[in-house]
Amino acid sequence: MVDPVHHLIGLTPPITVALAFALPLLSLIVKSRRFAEVYGVSATAIAAILTAIAFYYVYLVKSPVVYTFGAWPPPVGIVYEVDKFNGLLGLVVGVVFLLVAVYSIEYLKHRSGIEWYYTLLIGMEAGMLGVLYTGDVFNLFVMLEVTSVTAYGLVAFYRSRKESIEAALKYAIVGSVATTIYFIALAIIYGSYATLNMAQIAFKTMSKVDYFFYLIGGDRLWITYTPMIAVGGAAALALALWAFSVKAAIFPNHFWLPDAHPAAPSPISAILSGLLVKVGVYAIARFLYTLFHAAQPEVLVDSALKYVVEATLYALIVLGALSALIAGILMVAQSDIKRLIAYSTIMHIGYIAMGLGLATKLGLEAAIYHTINHAVAKALLFLAAGAFIHVVGTRNIDELSGVGRLMPITTLTFIIAAFSLVGLPPFNGFVSKYLLYMAFIEKGWAPLTAIIVISSSFALIAYVKIIYGVWLKAPVKELKGIKDPSPIITIPLLILAFACVFLGIASPYILDKVITPSVVDLAYNPLNYVSEALKILTQALGG
């Protein structure tokens, strides 16, 4: 008997997809704008509750939850496998989407086509949760496409603007190239490992025998390993991680991001910057650390694969450092507030990539904590910038001069987000950057901390430019009737600002109870991930 909570966790992405597809049909019957808004918020609230249940459950039961679709066990059927790592990221996705759905009511109140907006928004959430929860590399491809297609649509939401159409097309072309590369990687994975199930791949990179196939009906435990598998593994790893680096916007695959983020509506920019790029980060981490055991290369059955994994980690650090520096320099030169923030995303993804490349426990803790902190702070920064744009009607920093004094709540939340991203204490960004410094020093690579210091100082210049402009500079045009927007916009801002402070002040507790266990599940307990899938297979066979 499957625990009912397993059904809830496993069905979270399909339920969200169903909610997305139902909206256009229902809006044919109920032709009311208010209905679409309430529906959108309710659907994201349901998803947030389900992700919270998943998070609570995986931290409570202390082992990954495996859900089999149609009761087909792994590796035959598609499974969703939620451990502490993806359970945590799922919760962040659920909460941020809910806040964005609420914020969108006011932000897009003068726009038509709101039912399509919420359809795409809920669809994107379903895709992201699918990418996070899936335990199947092919299903990851499918859910990645669901996420991407909805994202292209949302970037082009202002379909009367040329820049939105251009940005969406550019994003779609770049994204399609990336998913095609990932598809080639999948073919190589299947050709090399004869499976698409993540747990089975993780097992086969550790063992010379295939225990999954033995359980299904093999007459004896055959040795399936050949040394040449390592070559396939190397090619697959290179192609898959390259595709994910496009989704994560790591240099040189960051081209789409500075165009797409400003062109989209601000709540969508918050999702793209705070969450969507993290999908790429998640996939990189899952492939490197769960499937190819980068934190414990000694468990790899193949010594050739060890070289490959080590080289990949070095590449990740180099590309991460280049992302941070290049984005830092380009960030200062911007006069469009959203474009400036978009470059900051590339910089922070660079930090996360560097943390992932260290392959130490502290480095991974720093990377995962920074992933969460950046998601919260960047969503806040985009939503606060969106509030300025919503009220004043411009993205130009010069034209926003002086509005800060008239919008104190928005400005305060903007400053909290900016200080958090720059890495000032006591905000959350400080803690994860501090951990990253310590991780570099622990590894003996202290000079690399200079890259974070230099790029952070560029970020400080850029943010001070905005804060000085909106708060201290005299207005360049008459600002009549300008005030903080309605609570529908300011309440999500205040919640995220509180989260920035809370994640900073409560960091010792969060690190101990949440981040470290998620790092252990991701990278240091591969047998746990594999054995849960094996347990399901044994149960399905009546064992």
Binding site: P252, V308, S335, P425, V476
Partner: protein, 115 residues
């Protein structure tokens, strides 16, 4: 060292530094002994009428001059060669990197297998 202790120490130091700088600024402003004349605050543009936007430093100029002087060459390389925003440029750059990475990783795996 405990993260919380580090954070508290740094926060206190930052607040103290900010407070001391701000109180110095207030003190200097109070005691500078200059009598302000209103006309000094009117922008003078050789008889031309100037808007506030024209007399204030634009966001492009603010703080950017340091960066543009020190890193100008690098910025121009980035803008003209690496980050043009043209898809064809991205594609060629991406393919070069991808081919290098795939070749290096496959070569390493072959060295591992046969070496």
């Amino acid at each position: 060292m405990n993260v919380l202790i580090v954070m508290i120490k740094l926060t206190v130091i930052m607040i103290l530094v900010a407070l001391s700088l701000y109180s110095t600024y207030i003190y200097v402003r109070k005691h500078r002994g200059i009598i302000k004349a209103k006309y000094k605050f009117q922008p003078y543009g050789c008889g031309e009428e100037l808007t506030r936007e024209q007399v204030s430093v634009g966001s492009r100029g603010l703080y950017w001059s340091v960066v543009s002087k020190v890193f100008n060459k690098l910025y121009m390389i980035l803008r003209e060669k690496i980050h043009t925003g043209v898809l064809g440029d991205w594609f060629s750059l991406m393919i070069i990197f991808l081919v290098v990475i795939v070749i290096v990783l496959i070569a390493l795996s072959l060295i591992g297998v046969f070496g």
